[in-house]
Symmetry: C2
Subunit: 456 residues, 2 copies
């Protein structure tokens, strides 16, 4: 690529083009400030490299709380405080092991990890024949006769035909979410689930599964997509293949933790609160850079930008870093409960929990008139790359506010790369583009500004 | 991120939603085929890892020609042939060296690379005082008095405020394109240009510079952005800092080479030709994955998809892999000359040379009525993430067809990450996302299909 695309897009995407009305000017100043002097990328580096994995209940989660309190103070928040919540406390323990015994000759180690909130295998591990299913229906069709005393291998790939990868994640995710409980119903000894990943590699991707109290709780692990492909091939050739699994995880009593909150008091209607946030906890295997360190540092950036540009919001701006989204959502629940009990006027809540990739739109979960108002602002976002203003779920943490009537929104970044690293050890700082991350913060700050000015 | 975004975007982006009209159905089948069975990613792996850097005139460029001929045959092209062209032949020789002598104590090696098509320093290298300029105007203001016998350090960062990074590249690029010639005018001994990169790291980014025959040709190198920042700081503290530069590059006589072409003959109007392409040459420092292996394998994917889905184009579809885009554009020129001489009816030419990132739009260089027709198709692209249909330059290779009246278009991928690796050693296969690459090919194939059906 040489110099010839110079004139592309002068009509759009060019943040330095003349801004017309006051909102356009304000949003342009927001964009220029964040793209030039944003701190989100440096804050993310600290969160990923100085703290690292921060699963709820862990020492690192406590460190992440302390670190982000400091970041919010540095950003200039008027008030920074902790909101107590009890969180799920599950620990993986020593890394899991699994071997496939294909035949007398061939033994191979598998790249696996226990699913979140699962029970461990017995101390000696579990060794058994394997039965593969490629759908939940196939699992039910096998029933007790086909499953009892076996290890069930649920091999449901993400469907690459979905352009929006979250749809593929949702569809194939049934195996991880419900598979172990259903397999237990038919007497399975353990479950191996193909990682929910859009690529083929050797990283196992964890995530929660939901047990069903009517059935026994059995060990459940995710296996890398590369190993899932290999295993599926072996099973067609050697149906007698056995697998040995040993997991060491443990669920403890809920533990006291906190959501981290920083506010800028509104100048005219401080009682009306507009919140923006992501979740501070991450899975224990990863740095949690895209999921969801990105959303946290973007929320902090909103505060930082308002203060440094001396933007005076009419309504109160609140950054919320939720705890325990990954394996309990108890931070989000506590946040909603507190708002309900104290009768807070939470008029709007924006969540960023789909990665720090190039922003493409907002998913709006609000009533018709509120949606019409937000959509009327959409032209202000076009030159910052945001075009989609669609009805949809806003996010898992703010979702708990729905019943309070809070208007909700979720940032929709480009989703093509997310499930290459989601919940896996390759979700690291290096996988985040500084410009993509900051551009998300630009659009979030712009949205907060408009809601703080005009309400909903 | 858990399971809560399930319903986002069911309205859009969901390629498996019911397609209505025949074109919608065809494009859906194109998308599903390429996302599931596309070969572009594997072809790119071969080009990057089995061949690697392929600067015009190099042995690897010849290997890339042979390899892509084979890929086009594998893709099922009716005819595959080579179009002769003479290309620029410049060689870097042994890697360059540069040292900054800040003061008596401090000597530091700098990460540099010669700019394309530049002359070498004398065998002993060049050592001289350094003068920094932060704009071309500053260079002219210094004039002979400030520049003669010095090394000029042109330190113009890319402006992060541009959301469309190509605009920043264009603006700051003046230093690399014209700086060395202008510095020579004032008697400079050599020029060091800050790399045209949107991030701060230690990779020098090469690229061509244009000498001016009225002035002496002097050695010119790019320095990494990290070193540029360091050097700028040192110069404020130690204005007497000297730099030693040694480059070993050489320009040879033009060399015979080829554009690689594969065609599917049109069923009704075979004389009307629709071409799609990227450039096969890359800089010698990089694998040329994003620039522009991506465009080449996407063009091959178009042929592959038409054949495998048995789509019968009414007009002839032609994939063109241009040679010598980076440092001469002589493949593109030869392609246009051949079309002119043989009076080919080249009705449309699409270029992909902005990286294999998530596609965002098309840049259209055509007359009003043609543009209106293309824009009337835009709703067919929305669910594949492509929204921008804007007037702009299509690309450097197809640009030579403009004078023939060919309607031109350029794929516009997301540009946030491109200049982190453009023309540098980190432009490698690993920097390409399979889904992003394939999604570009989907939209390119869809556009080719529509033009082949309806013409312009």
């Amino acid at each position: 690529m040489k110099l010839y695309k110079l004139f592309i897009l002068v009509l759009c995407f060019c943040s330095t083009a003349q801004a017309q009305n006051p909102d356009e000017k304000t949003i342009q100043s927001i964009s220029e400030y964040i793209m030039m002097q944003g701190t989100a990328y440096d804050n993310l580096h600290y969160l990923c490299k100085n703290i690292g994995p921060r699963l709820s209940g862990s020492v690192q989660a406590d460190k992440a709380i302390a670190a982000t309190v400091n970041m919010l103070k540095q950003a200039g928040a008027d008030t920074v405080y902790l909101q107590p919540c009890m969180v799920t406390h599950w620990e993986r323990g020593p890394r899991e092991t699994a071997y496939a015994y294909v035949n007398a000759k061939q033994k191979r180690q598998l790249n696996i990890c226990a699913l979140g909130n699962t029970v461990a295998t017995p101390a000696a591990g579990i060794k058994a024949r394997v039965v593969e299913v490629k759908s939940m229906q196939a699992l039910h069709d096998l029933g007790i006769a086909g499953i009892q005393n076996k290890i069930v291998f649920i091999n449901i790939p993400m469907d690459p035909r979905y352009i929006e990868t979250f749809l593929a994640y949702s569809e194939s995710g049934i195996g991880r979410r419900a598979g172990p409980a259903q397999a237990a119903k038919y007497g399975a000894k353990a479950v191996i689930v193909r990682s929910l990943a859009s690529n083929i590699d050797t990283f196992p991707h964890t995530g929660v599964t939901q047990y069903n109290d009517s059935f026994p709780k059995i060990a459940a692990v995710a296996v890398s997509t590369a190993d899932a492909e290999w295993l599926s091939t072996q099973l067609t050739k050697y149906p007698a293949t056995e697998i040995y699994i040993k997991t060491n995880c443990k669920i403890f009593a809920d533990k006291a933790s906190f959501n981290v909150i920083g506010e800028i008091r509104g100048t005219e209607m401080p009682e009306q609160i507009i919140s923006v946030g992501g979740h501070l906890d991450s899975w224990d295997l990863a740095e949690g850079a895209q999921d969801d360190g990105a959303g946290c540092v973007q929320a902090i950036e909103v505060i930082h930008c308002f203060k440094k540009l001396n933007l005076q919001p009419k309504r109160t701006i609140r950054a919320v870093l939720f705890m325990n989204e990954e394996n309990g959502s108890k931070g989000g629940i506590a946040y909603a409960q507190h708002a309900e009990i104290t009768k807070e006027q939470l008029i709007f809540a924006l969540e960023s929990d789909a990665g720090g990739f190039t922003p493409r739109g907002f998913s709006l979960q609000m009533n018709e008139s509120q949606m019409a108002k937000v959509k009327s602002w959409s032209p202000l976002f076009y030159k910052y790359g945001v075009y989609h203003f669609v009805s949809g779920h806003a996010g898992s943490d703010v979702g708990h506010l729905h019943k309070l009537g809070t208007a909700l929104a979720g940032l929709m970044p480009d989703s093509q790369r997310y499930f290459d690293l989601h919940h896996a050890a390759n979700d690291v700082f290096e996988a985040v583009s500084k410009r993509e991350l900051l551009l998300g913060a630009v659009n979030m700050t712009a949205m907060l500004w408009l809601v703080s000015e005009y309400g909903l």
